[in-house]
């Protein structure tokens, strides 16, 4: 194999040269080719590319969407002077890698700082124009869009696109927070009281309604009952009248006797009598008059 050795060496050398003169650009990357520090060209498409070994070198930059987070939220003020802690997150991407390299020397940190400054300033400005409620709710979208547009316009100069700016956390600073908590608490108290008295009122209403129903039912029944009784009374009266009307004089006599019987029925009734009464006529003298009834 001695003869193959130089060939192998040749081969290895060839591979070495080849590996030095070829470079791949990943799907996730941009590449810039420099020749002794001078910009030659930028590759934005992934693939295999050639370069001159030793003379030229290549630097890679990220093509993907990158996150820009703020470490601590900024204090901003709304139009009604409420302090607010706004925390944003931005998504950005290198679009013009040459410009990017030239303006920030390809340093991601520098780019981030630059972007953060712009976004922060724009955000503060946008929030400053709006009330707290607008900033939280109604105009939130608008704040974010406007900030993004402004930041994007500015970022173009460093070859960067700001894909999106989002308000991540909108917080109230501690001193305002305490007030908010107090307000929330009192609001809840109001709600609780309202609910309780509402409950009492509803309960009372149900009770009152029940009472009303009771009265109505009873009165109704009373009416019905009286009517029935009256009908009975009337019918009875008619019956009595038709019967007693046949001989009023006898009725008077007969009824009086009944009444006497009913009146003197107890042993407790003491009757003081004069023996001269007609009833006792035979008690004194047996002769004459009607025949004596059973007497004591």
């Amino acid at each position: 194999m001695k003869a193959t050795t130089p060939l192998l060496a040749l081969l290895v050398a060839a591979l070495l040269v080849l590996s030095q003169s070829l470079y791949t650009v990943d799907q996730k990357q941009y590449a810039i080719k420099f020749q002794l520090g001078e910009f030659i060209d930028a590759k934005t498409e992934a693939g295999l590319y050639l370069k001159v070994p030793l003379l030229q070198n290549v630097k890679f930059y990220d093509k993907r969407i990158l996150l820009l987070e703020t470490s601590d939220p900024d204090r901003v003020t709304t139009s009604e002077k409420t302090p607010l802690k706004a925390d944003f997150i931005a998504y950005w991407r290198i679009t013009d890698v040459r410009k990017y390299y030239q303006s920030v020397t390809g340093d991601e940190e520098t780019a981030r700082r630059r972007l953060a400054q712009t976004i922060r300033a724009n955000l503060a400005e946008e929030i400053n124009k709006r009330t707290l409620h607008e900033a939280i709710s109604t105009e939130r979208e608008k704040i974010m869009t406007t900030t993004r547009q402004k930041a994007d316009a500015d970022a173009k100069s460093i070859g960067v696109e700001v894909v999106d700016v989002r308000l991540r956390r909108v917080e109230l600073p501690d001193e305002v927070l305490a007030q908010v908590y107090q307000r929330m608490e009192s609001e809840r108290k109001r709600v609780a009281n309202e609910l309780r008295s509402l409950g009492a009122a509803e309960s009372e209403k149900i009770r009152a309604d029940a009472d009303r129903q009771r009265e109505v039912i009873l009165a109704d029944a009373y009416k019905q009952a009286q009517k029935t009784k009256g009908e009975g009374d009337a019918k009875a009266s008619a019956t009595y009248a038709s019967a007693y009307g046949q001989n009023p004089e006898f009725y008077s006599f007969y009824r009086s006797l009944e009444a006497y019987k009913t009146t003197f029925r107890s042993k407790g009734d003491v009757i003081v009598l004069d023996p001269s009464a007609e009833f006792f006529q035979y008690l004194k003298q047996p002769g004459g008059g009607p025949p004596a009834s059973r007497s004591k």
């Binding site: 992934a46 295999l48 608490e185 809840r188 009771r214 029944a221 007693y244 003491v270 003081v272 009598l273």
Partner: protein
């Protein structure tokens, strides 16, 4: 080699290295055979003293073949179930491979990155380690539309819908999901009223967050699919929890009071209905009793009247005496002949009454005679007598 890739030939001179090498090797082998065909014996080969003339070179060929085989074999990889292989050729995306044993052109031509695809990943916001009690207050407090603060802890479950997008479009896509989740929830909470978010709107908040997240993730081309946003907790902050609890209690108090009222109503109304039906029944009874009595009384009277008409004087006398007997038989009586001597008559009325009272008490111990049984209900007798009076009045 690489025959199974139809695109291979189109790659041009840039990436023609390996086949050329092969070609070179073959050339090299042939030339070596030509050159050293006769002098092969003295030469030491790696074959280790093999007798065959072409063998040293054949050995080299085999070595090369072995290297090539190993090299080719390095292109084998396995994609597990639920994952996808993202294949790049010289850094450029070519295809996404599905689970199973797969082969790619070996290094440095092609490379593969295997990523979780359908396997569900979870991001926890506002808490950690699956326990909502591990609160991270910094993440979980949100301002609502009515400028209240709500404590929301939620989890996002996601997988991929495009492995290639996931691999290429964003740096740290999983971090992006967490960030997007926070901003989306912050926005949704900002558009919601506190009470809505706390109670009836929880499901809606989850769905809205889900939609918003998906829209944002699509915009960034992350290739991520948000399966579900689940709210673990939506609570008032700890500082005001007591007041909120009390409000909830108040709600229950209200229900309780209502129920109590209802209970009262349920007690009173049926009772009244009962009373009403009693009144009606009584009235019916009274009606029947009065008319029947009237009929009875009238019938009796008529019959007596008939007899009376036949012999008025005797009947009258008899009736009178009957009455007197009944009256005097039942009561205490004192006979006083006023004409005889009414100068000094002392009547110990009180003693008489006492005496008769004792007699009455003794009477009461005995069973009541049937005639008196009718007069048990005082009200009825009252009514009866009234009715009779009315009848008599006519």
């Amino acid at each position: 080699m690489s025959l199974n890739d139809p695109q291979w030939g189109k790659r041009g001179n840039q990436n023609a290295g390996p086949p050329d090498l092969d070609e070179i090797w073959r050339n090299v082998n042939r030339r070596m055979n030509e050159l050293f065909g006769r002098k092969r014996e003295p030469q030491e080969g790696d074959g280790g003293g093999r007798p065959g003339g072409g063998l040293p070179l054949g050995g080299a060929g085999m070595l090369v073949a072995l290297i090539v085989v190993i090299w080719l074999a390095s292109g084998f990889y396995i994609v597990d179930e639920g994952r996808r292989g993202v294949v790049t050729r010289f850094g450029k995306y070519t295809e996404t491979t599905t689970p199973g044993p797969r082969w790619h052109l070996p290094f440095p031509i092609e490379a593969v990155e295997v990523v979780d695809f359908s396997q569900v990943k979870t991001v926890e916001i506002g808490y950690r380690n699956g326990n909502p009690r591990n609160k991270i207050a910094k993440e979980s407090l949100f301002l609502t539309d009515d400028e209240n603060i709500i404590d929301i802890q939620f989890a996002v479950q996601y997988n991929l819908k495009s492995a290639a997008d996931y691999s290429f479009n964003a740096r740290k896509p999983d971090d992006v999901v967490a960030q997007v989740a926070q901003t989306a929830m912050s926005e949704v909470a900002g558009h919601s009223q506190m009470d809505f978010a706390l109670y009836e709107g929880r499901a809606q908040i989850a769905t809205e967050t889900e939609k918003l997240m998906q829209a944002m993730l699509d915009r960034y081309g992350t290739g991520i699919y948000v399966q579900k946003v689940t709210l673990q907790n939506a609570l008032p902050p700890d500082q005001v929890a007591a007041a909120f609890d009390d409000a909830v209690k108040a709600k229950q108090d209200r229900e309780r009071q209502k129920n109590e009222g209802q209970a009262y109503a349920n007690d009173v109304v049926p009772r009244a209905r009962g009373q009403a039906s009693r009144l009606l029944q009584e009235a019916d009874g009274y009606n029947a009793s009065v008319t029947q009595r009237a009929d009875g009384d009238a019938s009796r009277f008529r019959q007596i009247l008939v007899e009376y008409a036949k012999a008025p004087a005797v009947t009258r006398q008899r009736l009178y005496l009957d009455m007197m007997q009944s009256v005097l038989g039942n009561s205490s009586k004192v006979l006083i002949d006023q004409k005889a001597g009414n100068n000094l008559l002392y009547l110990p009325l009180d003693q008489l009454l006492k005496q008769s009272g004792a007699a009455v008490a003794a009477d009461a111990a005995r069973p009541v005679p049937p005639e008196t049984a009718v007069t048990v209900d005082p009200s009825r007798t009252r009514e009866l007598s009234r009715g009779r009076e009315a009848g008599a009045g006519r």
